[in-house]
């Protein structure tokens, strides 16, 4: 149900534009709020719980609402370890959560909630939580 926390054992994908990708590196700019966003958007992989990770990724690609480009990436994060790392490593001990926010066209949509980060350090800490990167277009 929308607003519910996503289980710590689950995973989320963040779409990262090609401007934030240089070779294998992703920049924290890809984890900042986009224009019109009030909270950071992700896609919840285990929304498609009975699928393999590859199938989950493919379903998220298919339903993704923005135009995907060749240089874009999806960055995969584990929910629990990301929450833990942010609260332990951010100097302000920030508390974040990932909550369901699906809708008909994008049922896997979810949000990262938490207090605003004035100097954008949080985005760079999130980079440390990336488990895998996938091309947005296979």
């Amino acid at each position: 149900m929308n607003g519910d926390s996503i289980p710590d054992s689950d995973h989320v994908l963040r779409h990262v534009k090609g401007r934030f990708v240089q070779e294998e590196d992703i920049d924290g700019g890809g984890f900042r709020l986009r224009e019109g966003e009030r909270e950071l958007s992700f896609n919840w992989m285990e929304y498609y719980r009975n699928r393999t990770p590859d199938e989950q990724l493919e379903l998220i690609r298919k339903t993704f609402p923005l135009k995907l480009n060749k240089k874009d990436r999806f960055a995969k994060l584990n929910v629990g370890s990301t929450k833990s790392r942010v609260s332990s490593e951010h100097p302000e001990k920030k508390v974040i959560d990932f909550i369901e926010d699906g809708y008909q066209e994008v049922p896997s949509h979810c949000l990262m909630t938490g207090d605003p980060d004035v100097y954008e350090m949080l985005a760079d800490i999130l980079l440390e939580c990336i488990l895998e990167k996938f091309p947005a277009i296979p």
Binding site: R19, G28, H90, E120, M121, E128
Partner: protein
């Protein structure tokens, strides 16, 4: 040698920009030139590391920077960089094509007095760092156009001044943010990083992660600093090594 080109009022801004022939100008090939990373400065013989040092304060003035592409090894590489006083109405024949932009430079920067003393124009051979950053920015400009983002000339100006003043710095990763600012990142395999968002108007947003071995913890700091003070900020955070590896 002479050429006919309109230089007055050129501001750009895209590497596809072409210059419409308009004014007949006289170019004196011996007036300025370059070799290796030391440019020929007819009157005083300064070198790049001297000329591109940063000042501490002062009013700003515009300089036009001309990026000439078409290096022998790769046509996308820079072959020359020309700094032209805004009142300089002639275009040297060596830089007849390419891209230009205006950067805002403090009046008391060594580059300003050097350009003035040289008659309004100086030509450098680009450093490896400048060449790498220029190529990356060219890529980013194309991606920004696709995303309908207008990149900030002021951010570019500050980034370019920063790297030009530090020819020995390692090549950073550079990214184009949604707000039109450029962000340069130096990092290592231990997770340390110096990330500088050039916000324009001589301010820099910084994120620095530096591992303190004495306490076994990653130290993390972020904030906003003036471009003329950001080096001191990096040094105070014990993060200079990230820029020089």
């Amino acid at each position: 040698m002479s050429s006919s080109q309109d230089f007055t009022g050129l501001e750009i801004i895209s590497k596809e920009q072409t210059v419409t022939p308009f004014i007949r100008v006289q170019v004196e090939p011996d007036a300025v030139g370059w070799s290796s990373n030391v440019f020929t400065f007819q009157k005083q013989g300064l070198n790049t590391s001297t000329v591109l040092e940063e000042p501490s304060s002062g009013e700003t003035q515009s300089l036009t920077v001309w990026f000439e592409e078409g290096a022998p090894g790769d046509p996308r590489d820079l072959s020359k960089i020309a700094y032209l006083d805004e009142d300089f109405s002639q275009i040297p024949s060596q830089i007849a094509t390419g891209a230009s932009t205006k950067i805002s430079v403090l009046n008391n920067e060594p580059i300003m007095s050097a350009v003035r003393a040289s008659g309004g124009c100086m030509i450098f051979k680009p450093t490896l760092l400048q060449n790498s950053v220029y190529r990356r920015i060219s890529e980013l400009m194309e991606l920004a156009v696709e995303d309908e983002i207008e990149m900030s000339p002021s951010s570019f100006s500050d980034l370019w001044s920063f790297i030009s003043a530090r020819p020995a710095v390692s090549v950073p990763n550079v990214f184009a943010l949604d707000n039109g600012n450029f962000r340069a990142v130096w990092k290592n395999s231990e997770g340390e990083r110096v990330a500088l968002e050039f916000q324009g108007n001589k301010t820099v947003g910084f994120v620095i992660f530096e591992y303190d071995r004495s306490v076994g913890k990653m130290m993390r700091m972020a904030g906003i600093q003036g471009v003329n003070r950001i080096q001191a900020q990096i040094t105070a955070a014990y993060a200079d090594h990230l820029l020089t590896r």
